[in-house]
Symmetry: C2
Subunit: 353 residues, 2 copies
């Protein structure tokens, strides 16, 4: 395959020297981009967009055409695995994802099988392959999936929630059933991510959206333990190149040390974490990715430049920082704010390298 022309992201994730701080943005191919909305309209729905490689590749590349981003991330959804398990992923307009057949009885749970990536999730692997080829080495391609616990939350509850009562009830009353689901999800995630690596993903990111809401002991046993198993099951090299891994756990700033000890190369931190403090706690062990509050992008280019400066100053000098937002970019973001962000990171970060 084509050699990388810009490997700044990979180097930063491995805490090697770089001339500036690389930047990409969670949900960078998203609804704030008019061309994304146009492609989505042609595809007919979000799901059709995800499941049709030609469309998914097109939107994967769109933000790269506008902004000098240092990475592409394959356009997909964190819930592809349970969808491939037969739970029936669907989207209610403006309401987020839900499953038509959530896991409610033990028989369904015992029947759960890890999908075979090359068959059941072939559309994702095809998207990875084609996106990698289309990128032609311009920047690295990031593959991803949801953490076993985050997948289980949606699979059991059926949708997002502020407190996941069905998940908490199972955790309390039938923990062995929850562990069974997590074990299947874990094996599914490892096979799926290694499939993405073989198809061309050069970095892997695991999104744990809901683990941070658990109590400390539950977080360790039901969320982090399985994310760690996924990290440790990943191919660390492919075709002679290191494939760095990033664990992003929203709301888990209390657990940076244990996440950093999972074996991942980098920890993604949300907007609530002070990067200076985070670096002090785990910077000797992992790179850090984050963490500008996405709301700053709604306040115009001057606010964006000030926000970028503050995040860069908080991390400080040296390598091991990948600039990103603290969570996904808002659909209401002006495109100019995104340009200002990328340019400001590239310009202002040189003083720190």
């Amino acid at each position: 395959m084509n050699p990388l022309k810009n490997d700044t992201l990979i180097r930063a994730l491995l805490r090697q020297p770089t001339p500036y701080t690389p930047v990409w943005v969670m949900r960078q191919a998203g609804r704030y981009l008019p061309e994304y909305n146009a492609t989505r309209a042609r595809a007919g729905s979000f799901l059709a967009l995800c499941k049709t490689p030609a469309f998914a590749v097109e939107v994967t590349l769109q933000p790269l055409a506008r902004f000098a981003l240092d990475a592409a991330i394959v356009f997909s959804d964190i819930l592809t695995i349970p969808d491939a398990m037969g739970l029936g992923l669907a989207f209610a307009e403006g309401e987020g994802p839900y499953f038509e057949r959530p896991l409610r009885d033990e028989r369904d749970i015992r029947k759960l099988r890890a999908p075979v990536p090359g068959e059941d999730l072939r559309y994702v692997l095809d998207t990875v392959r084609q996106a990698r080829q289309a990128l032609d080495g311009k920047v690295p391609l990031i593959g991803f999936c949801g953490s076993p616990y985050t997948l289980a939350c949606y699979m059991i509850e059926g949708r997002g929630s502020t407190d996941f009562p069905a998940v908490k009830a199972m955790l309390r009353d039938r923990p062995e059933l929850l562990h069974h689901i997590l074990d299947v999800n874990c094996r599914a995630a490892i096979a799926y991510l290694n499939g993405q690596i073989e198809a061309g993903a050069q970095v892997i990111m695991i999104f744990d959206t809901w683990g941070g809401m658990l109590g400390a002991a539950e977080y360790r046993d039901f969320s982090l333990a399985y994310a760690k198993r996924v990290v440790q099951g990943l191919k660390r090299e492919h075709q002679g190149a290191r494939v760095p891994s990033i664990v992003f756990a929203k709301g888990a700033g209390h657990s940076l040390e244990s996440i950093a000890a999972s074996g991942c190369d980098a920890v993604g931190v949300d907007w609530t974490v002070d990067l200076r403090a985070a670096r002090g706690r785990v910077g000797a062990r992992v790179a850090l990715q984050g963490n500008l509050d996405p709301d700053v992008l709604l306040a115009g280019p001057d606010a964006v430049r000030a926000g970028v400066a503050a995040v860069l100053a908080a991390f400080g000098s040296g390598s091991g920082h990948v600039f990103n937002l603290g969570h996904g970019i808002s659909r209401h973001t002006p495109v100019d704010s995104m340009s200002a962000l990328v340019d400001a990171v590239h310009e202002a970060s040189r003083a720190y390298h």
Copy 2:
């Protein structure tokens, strides 16, 4: 005043040796107790209960009659200060608190004055005085208030929220106005808490419910900076006795170090924080209070004993731990779970002292 017969809480907060780990519970005088509901019914409403010292003292003492708790906390609400500023505190049934006249225009904000505790909040000081007398030195009495930022959230938004859009808009567009509100709240909180100390409160706790949702820089500048000013404005001694202070910041496990540096004696941690890790981070500087997940109390006495054992083991040996829940007790808690909790803490903790 009457000398303390049980000073375990005070000693633990000051990290002095104790024979066992003291325990109290946030919202221990609350709706899970039938006698609380009976008094509330007699008072007519939650607000009447707060504002009538005879009723407030009665419910303050109720949990002490049932359980061998090591502290009483004055029965009140975190929103008494803005209510005394004239914003009109009210409660919609089952919906939580709201203000009839939230701060929406600059003129109202500029007119804001810190209440005079002895006049505008006299009912709270009377409750403190009478509760202290009624306790007769059995256990220490905790006084409290909301943090300046948490008060501002309710004052501006008018009610609780998942994302506080009006607060975030002011923070972004008119930060000087928000700082003005915070400054008034800060002076109000200091006067109010010192009033409580003079009336007999032996420990002070500051509740920061919403600061943890802010971005790191905003948390530091708009929430922690003012909580710190409150801590540093408190009388540290009264009538020859140290008055320890506790800062509880929900969702701020990412910032334990900076909270611990505020000058408080103890940091309250929510259920998401691992106490072992927290002690490693700040245990040389402050005591820790917390942090069993209140949901465990819904799972019966065996689960409670296991949960208590896990929290005690996480903190480990030695002094400096006050047992509590990670947030307020649920109204659905069986009374037996609360007995099991208090007894389990007292019995199982002796091995750690």
